[in-house]
Amino acid sequence: MKVDRRSFLSFVIGGAAGTTLSPLPWKLMDDSSIWSQMWPWKPVPPAGEVVYEDSTCPLCPGGCGITVRKVENRAVKIEGKAGHPINNGGICLLGLSGLQLLYGPTRIKSPMKRVGERGEGKWERISWQEAMTLLSEKLGEIRDKGEAHTVAAISGTGYGTVTELLKRFMTAYGSPNFFRSPSMQDTDEFALNAIFRSKGRLGYDLENADYILSFGSGILDGWGSPVRMFRANSLWKDNQVPVIQVEPRLSNSAGKASKWVAINPGTEADLALGIAALLISQKMANKGNISGFRAWKNELVQAYKPETVAETTGVPVETISELAQGFGTAKRPIALYGKGKGVGTGSLREIAAVTVLNALSGNLNKEGGLWAVSQPDFINWPNVNTDQIADAGLNQSRIDGAGDGPTAGIESVLTRLPQKVLEDGPYPIQALLVAGANPCHELPDTKSVKQALGKIPFIVSFSSFHDETADQADLLMPDHVYLEKFEDVTVGAGLVKEVIGLCRPVVSAQFNTKHLGETLIATANMMGDAIAGAFPWENYESCLKETLGNKWDSMIENGYWENGDVDTAAKKVRPAALDAPVVQAQGDVNSFPLLLVPYDTIRISSGYVGDTPFMVKTVSDTTIKGKDGFVEINPQTAAANGLTEGTLATLATPVGEASVRVHLFEGIKPGVIAMARGLGHTAYDGYLADKGVNVNELIGPVEDPSSGLDAAWGIRAKLDKA
């Protein structure tokens, strides 16, 4: 058949017209749109009865009340509990995304023992019986050799029944080496002990204060109980209360304050003392709260002349006198201590300076002032009847030397542990138990921490998640997540009231995990009478119920127990360590011309729990971009170093080196660079791992000679174009 042009065109046009008139294209288009939207894996969440259950969020020290919305047995949303004394319906982004932790793929789903090399991630699932046998046998072996003191334990918090159970386990077992992660509690205990000469914690009556002077405290960046702080901030706005933020970087707290005072990092104590000196010399000071006032006042006024202070701090003389005027003439002024989230410990000189300033306002333990609050005292268990082996172990000195010399009154100095392990002194650590803490990411100089853990032959992690520390463990005994269990949550966090929240099992345990309290009681029972005797409870729930006593009913009913009428721990302050040497940043100026300071943000969780996928989503693209993390730098400093926005650079400090990108930010002091804390995870999953740099890899601990605690606030650094 001959196909000429005419018949070809007829065929094509006819075919096209025919197809168009047929249902075929429309059917195909319809099908394709259905096909493109009806993937079989598109989840269709089952509907069902909706119920709300109240609980408490223990993910940070804040202790907010939460309400969990459930559809049948699934938890679908966490909301702030309306009417709760701390957050009254408000909630932060970590609390909101708790279900991503509960149902997340990084949960450890069953007890496991390591089969491959350390850190290789090869595990074998075992039963709880096997896991507890393994633990009790290993610990029994060490104890039988009379080396009980060579076992150490790290707890994420210092409060609560579970922490006390772990501490009790260590006591009955015979080791003095119980550690807790550095927190505001350390600062509080250490300040109360050194400055007030009593036991307890600090409380800030912020809602009633009428002048707020914050020495770098991240009022809006996660300091104290974050939601309480956000609410207080709104209250200040409504009442036009001046908020002064002293900080080298324009953080969110500084940005929302009435005034941002840019200061040379590490000189906050000098400014506080400079203001104190002005209050005294201008007769605005109230000396009633200070013991030995006469003895040091002239010295202070002499040593902290405005000109000298201006020189040290970089804050102009006029600003200093303006601050003194504001603080001195306000009725209920308050000064805040604790940089960023306030979990770093800081120097005794700095906390003493801020406390003295508060004392000079004459507002100690008064409305709108700083309070010395007694510790909550509801865990009254009988003393442990220790046997001979335990006594011998407990008689050994702590490996970190806490409680001796300058550290008197301090329970533990976790930042000293890695160094002590590495130098084998005074004795080697043979086993380490880690609960609710992630030292391989949280502690400064993480490289040394990992090396130290490498030297410990037996590590047990009770973590619920595959975090960096669990990766280094030999035995995983995963705890329930807070939404699966009962637990008390004691809230300190700078409140001027006592609040104990209650975590409740909102959903049943999702995996083969076990409450840490149960694990401890059961393991103790497997280890013979000497240890079992210290744990008379049938299970954790009965222990909790018995311990809380008459508070239990109100906690079950309201979800919390509250006491607004707190006991004051002390009435007077004793100025201590004001002339102590200033804690300097590590490194010399010539090789490292810049100063690196870590900064906290509420959008990045920097504690034991890492950022959830939702939280990572809120982090800006000038903090992390792809795998790269950023450092903030003043455009002036950047130009001097030949750096432009987004440049890849090598950041070096005396402790480590990392590759970073540069973000130009006008709101940072020239010569200072800042990096967000809490990034650079290596464990967890792709939603969190390999994003940015862990600033702890670049900063080492710097001990404050007057307390023994880590007081590093930054480190010298150098930034070169890569």
Partner: protein
């Protein structure tokens, strides 16, 4: 039940479109927000509250913000001054639920599939995922970048789909999504109101997830037409001037486009208000408000 008094709708609207005092025999509502930027701390709780309320997906890398779906996004603004006079401010941006003139929102006008519509009952701009075929005209039309395209299928890591809410359907690759003012909450509140024999949804029964979560109390949500609602009292919309706020602290984003948005922002700071629109050097904020047509 006694009928309540309502603001008269805008003049233009009256003769241009059928937005009247009543719709299906019920008073017209205009749900909207007032966001106090002086109280907003940029904490991001609204973003996460929204994501967890509305089954918003997430990927391993969310640092490409053009592809990162956030129905409400918090922008960081600076006054552009050098150290140490630099100031920052945060601005949360949900869908602005433009009314335009008589319900002609920029996105609604261009949608060929009627996948997005302006509700004359509530003033909420809807998005019907199953109708959307992903042409993205609406995204181009939206002056606020409030619309997001699903470039990928949402994948919840194993087990995490357990927290998905049945109130909001999950979206798939190829459709556009955006803030709905938590419309499912309105539906629930409306059912509840009917059951309780109420003619109208009480203010406290219908609040968006972001409003509820905001720890600073910076977001106020309600019916802009209802003088009893807090949002009306703060905003004081002027129906004779394109619903412009009578509150000197308040402004809307790109107000002069005539999008007639229902999200109002409040700030004491002039430089913040100035960033809300494109002002010429000699123009003062608050003085020029007429739409250019």
């Amino acid at each position: 039940m006694k009928e309540q008094q309502h603001e008269v709708p805008t003049k233009e609207a009256q003769h241009k479109a059928p937005v009247e005092g009543k719709e299906h025999g019920r008073p017209v509502m205009r749900y909207g927000m007032a966001i106090d930027l002086d109280k907003c701390t940029g904490c991001g709780a609204c973003m996460v509250a929204c994501m967890s309320e509305n089954n918003v997906p997430f990927k391993e890398d969310e640092s490409d913000k053009l592809k990162s779906i956030t129905w409400i996004r918090v922008y960081k603004l600076t006054n552009g001054k050098p150290y140490p006079d630099t100031e920052i401010c945060y601005l949360p941006r949900p869908c602005q639920h433009c009314e335009g003139h008589g319900g002609h929102s920029p996105c609604v006008s261009v949608c060929p599939a009627t996948a997005t519509d302006y509700s004359r009952e509530t003033g909420i701009v809807s998005q019907i995922y199953t109708r959307c075929f992903g042409c993205r005209y609406c995204m181009a039309a939206c002056p606020y970048h409030a619309r997001y395209f699903n470039w990928y299928d949402p994948v919840w890591p194993d087990g995490m789909e357990k927290y998905l809410s049945p109130d909001v359907s999950a979206r798939v690759r190829g459709v556009v999504e955006k803030c709905s003012f938590c419309y499912h909450r309105y539906q629930l509140a409306k059912n509840k109101a009917y059951l309780n024999g109420l003619h109208r949804v009480p203010e406290e029964d219908y609040q968006t997830a972001c409003t509820q979560a905001c720890p600073s109390g910076a977001i106020v949500f309600g019916d802009l037409n209802n003088p009893e609602h807090k949002v009306h009292q703060i905003v004081q919309p002027d129906p004779h001037n394109g619903n412009k706020s009578k509150n000197p602290k308040a402004f809307r984003l790109l107000e002069r486009l005539g999008t007639n948005t229902k999200v109002y922002y409040l700030s004491d700071r002039e430089w913040v208000r100035r960033l809300g629109d494109n002002y010429l050097a000699h123009e003062e904020t608050g003085k020029v408000a007429k739409a250019h047509h």
